[in-house]
């Protein structure tokens, strides 16, 4: 406001001077001609809102094409922010406006103060802070697969149906995307599609697909749908699947392998979320072909459903199924026995007896030969090997010394105590 007054006075003073100057020179008749001057420009004709709109708005057609978004987008700034009445470019003291009229027993006078060089910088900083786009900051526990986006994030259990609550369930978003669909009267409209998986971590899980005009609605629909389509999966020893399997949906192929306890989930992130929902803790899965997420989810669920328990396998084969574990010195543990067992003569010669081959339906995984790393043929590698050969047992020796003497030292330390002192000084 103050600056406006200042500028106004500037604008007014110049024509006034023009009028007064010749009079001052003639100094004869007080002939005063007053002409009104209107300082009108594009910038003070319209309010700030309209001015900003003219800069930032995008036409309807343009918006549909996606204009006015992204890096070059102009955002509305409030230029009044950070400005105080009574202070401006010229640092003036205005008693009664920017300072009290009486300070102590002294009557303050209007006067110019030394310029504040940082004022403009501060203003620009405040204005810039308005334009920068700030993302929603999430804690590392809430965060999904990437940033603050929905995929990978938890959205709680499905809504209760009547009095039946989903206790112990948790839902994870696997996919949330916008789709454009054509409508007869509206033309192209935006729809959101969400895929989620829900499960209690104890064998019950289901996935759901939901579509809606808004993202939260799509998520809710998908979540509740997943809650309606629960499936039960048996988990072997509470940590893994019953056997290796191959599964496919469309062009997506997955090779899933049973693993030991403590191996973890080494697989696609969507498969990992599904496993966590079901309660599987150790598997390895290799994806081949298309990595369409919905296909991955469907293929994996189909594969899990097609698993056969050990009892079923033994019954199918009419043979004992025996487990060998390295930690149990390969003691043959019978995990399942059929009601009647075939003898050796009853087994045809060309029957698949290899367990993995049988459960993979005779599908053989291509295991590529691992070539040695490129540097092993280079001369520097040989130098490295020669150089570090003498250190190869040092770690073991250090450990032994610590066991024996409680420190890295030897019998020589006792014979030459002065050496030890020197070492500690340096």
């Amino acid at each position: 406001m103050c600056s406006k007054i200042l500028t106004l006075s500037n604008v007014l003073s110049r024509p006034m001077q023009l009028f007064f100057k010749p009079n001052a020179t003639s100094n004869l008749k007080p002939n005063i001609n007053v002409t009104s001057v209107a300082c009108v420009s594009f910038f003070n004709k319209l309010p700030a809102e309209k001015l900003w709109k003219s800069v930032t708005s995008v036409s309807n057609a343009g918006a549909k094409k996606g204009r006015g978004k992204g890096a070059g987008r102009i955002r509305i700034r409030d230029l009044n922010r950070g400005q105080v009445i009574g202070t401006g470019k010229v640092n003036m003291l205005w008693p009664g406006l920017s300072a009290p009229v009486i300070r102590g027993r002294e009557l303050l006078k209007q006067q110019k103060l030394p310029d504040d060089p940082e004022r403009m910088e501060k203003l620009i900083k405040i204005r810039d802070s308005m334009t920068k786009f700030r993302r929603l900051k999430l804690s590392s526990i809430e965060r999904g697969w990437s940033g603050s986006r929905m995929p990978g994030r938890s959205i709680g259990p499905p809504d209760p149906i009547g009095e039946d609550e989903f206790i112990g369930f948790d839902t994870k978003v696997l996919q949330l995307r916008s789709l454009l669909i054509m409508k007869g009267n509206l033309g192209r409209t935006r729809n959101y599609q969400a895929m989620v998986v829900t499960g209690n971590g104890q064998g019950l899980a289901g996935f759901g697909l939901g579509k809606a005009k808004e993202a939260p609605a799509a998520l809710r629909k998908a979540k509740n749908r997943a809650g309606q389509k629960l499936m039960h999966f048996e988990i072997y020893n509470g940590h893994t699947i019953f056997h290796d399997f191959f599964t496919a949906f469309g062009k997506t192929k997955i090779f899933v392998q049973k693993k030991n306890e403590g191996y973890g989930l080494k697989c696609h992130r969507a498969i990992r979320e599904i496993c966590q929902a079901i309660g599987i803790k150790d598997i390895r899965a290799k994806l081949e072909g298309s990595n369409n997420l919905q296909h991955i989810v469907k293929a994996f669920f189909i594969g899990l459903l097609q698993q056969r328990t050990h009892k079923q396998l033994a019954e199918e084969k009419k043979l004992h199924l025996v487990e060998y574990r390295a930690e149990n010195e390969y003691y043959p543990k019978v995990v399942a026995s059929p009601t009647e067992v075939r003898t050796k003569d009853q087994i045809p010669r060309d029957e698949t007896l290899h367990f993995v081959q049988y459960v993979m339906n005779d599908k053989v995984i291509l295991r590529k030969k691992k070539f040695p790393p490129f540097y092993e043929k280079m001369p520097h590698y040989k130098i490295y090997l020669k150089k570090y050969e003498k250190y190869r047992n040092h770690e073991k020796i250090r450990q032994m010394l610590k066991v024996e003497y409680g420190d890295v030292k030897s019998f020589l330390n006792e014979r030459f105590p002065e050496e030890k002192v020197e070492q500690s000084e340096t």
Binding site: N260, Y331, E404
Partner: protein
């Protein structure tokens, strides 16, 4: 302060209070008051121990549970578990595999030998006075020819006074370990055996199997220190009645033999009767008769033991009894009754335990009769 200390001390039985005015002195009696005993008498335990009958009795008394024999251990050298392997097997193949596993179990359950303490070697081969003052240190000579057993290897020393003699056991062991190292054996004695505080700490924590396993690797069975360590451990187990920690391991046989040899099987017998394994009690009586020949009706126990060997091994109490079981068990009860009268030193406790077993047995046999009647077989 002194009152508090006194209170704490009186609560712990193992602490001793010496009280005199004006201060109270509390001495912690952390050291165990177990006196180690050795196989060092007139009699040599080895011939008795190695007879097949005694071996069979000891193996049967071990009560090997294969889930414990083949359990996961920390010293297997697996830094991570491996994915299990599966096989489809016919009945014959499965039997073969189980037979192989039984052989492996026999190796795992091989009882460490019980031997008399060795005599020191003091054999002078020659004296050469011309070599006196030749050098300031001894010379040791080892025959490192491939294929000779460690016990038969020629290891001799030339003293500074020119005497050529065979080395004693400790030097032999050290040199053998230098030239032909046994994995797990250390040239210097491990702290857990040399430091009494650490050793007792291990025993208090009940790490008996670890102590015994390591002693087996570190020492020879005829070394005095081996027998000292094992005897303290066995007595600790016996005092605390932690027999189940050693069952299904290779050390249970040695412990049973040790207790039998030193006439202190009463606690073990009590535990066996209390847990309802009356047949094992008969086996233990038979073992005692085999070793000391001091059990009245001992031959009856021995013949009963032969009968028991034909029945399958039991890992837990029977829920249902067959006719044969009832006959065998009633014979066993009679045998044990006689044993208690003639040989037990804690008769009342043994009788009480046997009474408990009898009641249980009566109940089960009546159930059997009732079932027979219900099925119309009587």
């Amino acid at each position: 302060m002194s009152l508090l200390l006194q209170k704490i001390a009186t609560k712990h039985v193992k602490t001793l209070i010496i009280k005199y005015e004006p201060c109270v002195l509390v001495i912690s009696n952390r050291k165990l008051n177990i006196v180690p005993s050795f196989y060092d008498g007139e009699q040599d335990p080895a011939p008795k121990f190695f007879t097949p009958n005694v071996q069979n009795l000891l193996k049967r008394l071990t009560r090997p549970d294969f889930t414990k024999v083949f359990r996961k251990r920390n010293n297997q050298g697996l830094h991570a578990l491996k994915t299990p392997k599966y096989k489809f097997l016919t009945k014959e193949e499965l039997e073969l595999e189980i037979a192989k596993a039984n052989e492996k179990a026999d190796v795992l359950l091989q009882i460490p030998p019980v031997l008399k303490i060795h005599k020191p070697i003091d054999e002078v081969l020659s004296r050469d006075p011309a070599l006196i003052g030749y050098d300031t240190s001894k010379y040791l000579f080892t025959d490192i020819t491939f294929g000779i057993a460690n016990e038969e290897r020629i290891i001799i020393e030339r003293d500074t006074d020119g005497t050529l003699r065979s080395c004693d056991h400790d030097i032999r062991k050290k040199l053998n370990q230098v030239y032909f190292p046994i994995t797990g054996r250390k040239i210097r004695e491990p702290h857990m055996f040399s430091d009494e505080e650490k050793f007792h700490n291990l025993l208090d924590r009940g790490e008996y199997e670890f102590v015994l396993d390591r002693a087996c690797i570190q020492y020879e069975p005829d070394e005095p220190i081996f027998q000292k360590i094992t005897s303290i451990t066995y007595q600790h187990v016996d005092n605390n009645k932690c027999y189940n920690t050693l069952r299904s391991t290779r050390h249970f046989g040695s412990m049973t033999f040790y207790l039998t040899w030193h006439q202190s099987i009463d606690n073990l017998m009590l535990e066996i009767i209390q847990s309802g394994f009356i047949r094992e009690a008969v086996l233990l009586a038979a073992l005692r008769h085999d070793v000391h020949n001091d059990v009245r009706e001992g031959t009856a126990a021995q013949s009963l033991a032969q009968e028991i060997f034909t029945t399958p091994l039991l890992l837990s109490k029977l829920e249902r009894l067959t006719e044969e079981d009832i006959q065998l068990d009633s014979k066993c009860i009679q045998c044990i009754e006689k044993y208690i009268v003639s040989n037990s030193t804690i008769k009342s406790q043994h009788e009480l335990a046997l009474q408990g077993f009898k009641e249980d047995f009566q109940h089960l046999s009546e159930l059997r009769k009732g079932l027979e009647k219900a099925h119309g077989n009587v």
